[in-house]
Amino acid sequence: MSTDTPARPSGAALDTVERAAATPEHELPWEALGLKADEYERIREILGRRPTGAELAMYSVMWSEHCSYKSSKVHLRTFGRHTTDEMKKHLMVGIGENAGVVDIGQGWAVTFKVESHNHPSFIEPYQGAATGVGGIIRDIMAMGARPVAVMDSLRFGTIDHPDTARVVPGVVSGVGGYGNCIGLPNIGGEVFFDPSYQGNPLVNALCVGAMKHEDVHLANARGVGNLIVLFGARTGGDGIGGVSVLASETFEDTGPSKRPAVQVGDPFQEKVLIECCLDLFSAGLVEGIQDLGGAGLSCATSELASAGDGGMLIHLDRVPLRDSSLSPEEILMSESQERMMAVVTPANVDAFLAVTAKWDVEAAVLGEVTDGDRLLVQWHGETVVDVPPRTVAHEGPVYERPYARPASQDALQADAPTAERLPRPATGEELRATLLRMTASPNLCSRAWITDQYDRYVLGNTTLATPDDAGVVRVDEETGLGVALSLDGNGRFTKLDPATGAQLSLAEAYRNVATAGARPLAVTDCLNFGSPEDPGVMWQFAEAVQGLAEGCEALGVPVTGGNVSLYNQTGDRGLDSAVLPTPVIGVLGVLDDVSRRTPSGWREPGQVLYLLGTTRDELGGSEWAWVEHRHLGGLPPALDLEHEKLLADVLVNCSRDGLVDAAHDLSEGGLAQALVEGSLRFGAGARVWLDELCERDGIDPFVALFSESAGRVLVAVPREEEVRFNDMCTARGLAHLRIGVTEEVSQETRLDVQGLFAVPLAELREAHTATLPAHFGG
């Protein structure tokens, strides 16, 4: 391991701009870098000559699906079209920056975003998940914010598949290892098992950060003469597998043989980088800032220059290296973690370097903002890149991929889980046994085995986290101002009907935030789908985006940013080998005083349980259909967004006025699961009666317990507030029904569904908590 700056490899022919102009016939391995013939032709047109190896490296990585969103761009524009001025009211920075920024009042702003690290987490679960968390944290830092919490949404193959036993513990300890070590509380997430994720686990990580309004920073390089500083970890050969073709082309004799396929994270370096950045921001030493993630320096330089007001000159030989054998192409492409790039005025640069020195963070002045409009990259004085930065960063190819509703969709939707086709439990004994099996099933069982590996307390501002519906953190210690976040997705519903499924995921996250007592304000999303080259997948994608955009408009919450992950698919069986279409939606809400937040379980005896919303026979895509019959078909539950809005409004008012002591959203597993979780939260039982509910909604006890109708929440109302609570629901026209009372916390306490069955909480707890340890070790 050598740590010096590289000497120009002797004897190797450097592919300079000059040489490229002089050797137009020289063929470059554009195909091996993933470019299409017409894309390569466009690059030649833009440049008026063949690209150099370094230019080709930049274009190929920046024009990849991952960086250019070339298949998804046309659809993502839908979000903008559905964002009204009213929705923009709280939006300080919208889609397009590293992360959106939302005004939460009192001079405070928050920024949040969810991103995927799916494929790397399959190859190397620990490091893949860890660097996924690290990457999203840097996006938040790049906005000028202090990161305050993380969340993770995880999807794995079948729970008893041998490879799941490899992937789950690795991913979980990677998420925890990075987040715990960097000192950010993990305040929630999801875990879901389904065979479609076998070989394609989904690892989506969210970070939220807070700042004062005046601290918002943007990623652009403005001001001729301002300096470009790279700081953080040294650059190694991480994640440049592909570009080695170029290295071997131009550096035949000196090119290194091995380039790591995976990146290793160093959370300690990132923690120091966070503190260092915050010191830099508060001292006013940063004009513009950008994190280095996918596509490394290629991305950071071209995006900063493209968003700026001039050109940029970079001396690539000044990049501090971990591996001195790297070629210019490789340095441009390296995805080494824990690096940032800042634009600094010449007057501030000494002070800037003093701060980085205080934190033992390496920094190098790579170049400057120039007049003109070219991005120039030099290697020991010779120009290896000379491009218009916009063509690299923002004007990549855009595809209108063909899409079509798959022929199989009709049959799928026709395959409804009717009582005639899937036998349903009817007697008390059958219902009791079903409830115990359901609550122990992989997607409904306790997540404690996972979440106990995450620090939820660090920073001292967490007031709700697992297993509550939303994570809630305090942002301002003086006033108690804080935010609530929930991350939800439902691939099964989205498979049955992509537009409705995406909206159901949105509605669940929105409802979760309101259930905790917060006013929903903004949305981030991570769209995980199969191959865009499959018209069926593309149809799912287009439908989901359309549904999501319309849903956001109806609820009045704008999409502020997100991430698209395509090609989550193994094999070539088309749609059948793709993951369930999985939009994961994060909703952020505000509480003016987080001490008013509502927890998800009851702890006082004698409170009255009310069910808000109505229940229909909706079991298509439900957990019951899957757990008991391995069935996925029919239509997902219907969604009424006006009702969701009303429900949220009532819940937020209830929290503000202290009308409810607990509230729990009904989602996977229906009312049965909500009763189990609400009871187990603090160990207080409940006595429940279903007759009135069945009568009012025209359903039977099985449907009452296991249907997954949307728009429902279970709340515990203190007796002295019952009148006010009833009046408020009645006045607002919200369906509400008294279905039970809470019991005390005791050894003997039970969940008693009157006239049908009763289960001691001890037995419920045993069933609920045993599953994950049994599969992944105590």
């Binding site: 300890s173 290892g177 715990n180 000192g183 160093d266 959370p267 620090d455 967490t462 210690e477």
Partner: protein, 227 residues
Amino acid sequence: MRIGVVTFPGSLDDGDARRAVRLAGGEPVALWHADADLHGVDAVVLPGGFSYGDYLRCGAIARFSPVMSEVIAGAQRGLPVLGICNGFQVLCESHLLPGALVRNDHQKFVCKDQRLRVESASTLWTSAFEAGQEIVVPLKNGEGGFVADEDTLDRLEGEGRVVFRYLGGNPNGSLRDIAGIANERGNVVGLMPHPEHAVEVGYGPGTDGLELFTSVIASALVSAVGA
């Protein structure tokens, strides 16, 4: 009372320790690892976190930081020093406390609300408790298994220097369920659980942790009156 809280690169719960000091009525003073100066504080807290990444051994590198030479000298003179989690590891690495902390027996990081028994109320950091009192504070660590040889363990027990013990199941394989210990004089205490995360209603399990900080403030008052 001015209580210093050391920040090493990689300290995570330093802000929380300062908040706990403040809520207990003390004046928190931020101390920097590279600064060989305690700035005249009356007590020191070594907070939780992963100093220098803790890749080698927890606390191994922090022990050699400039500020630690002052902390060690102060502790030997009787300065109250509290090590929480990573701070406990630093105290053991510095030989201010005996024993060492190793990887949890189940090999996983664990974060949970932990029941403890206060075994000794005769240290500077536990005088506000009753001996035998049960408290709940968060526990969060990956390397919290306390180990020492049998003789050392017997001596700790015999001299009443086991300060906290885990109740309701051993969360990490610590020998004899030991969660925290003191030096002979009772001015240096180290524990794995995080009392600074149980100081505010609504943010953690109750406020049992506050007493560690009020203890040291009260004992300073007592000694000031006595002097």
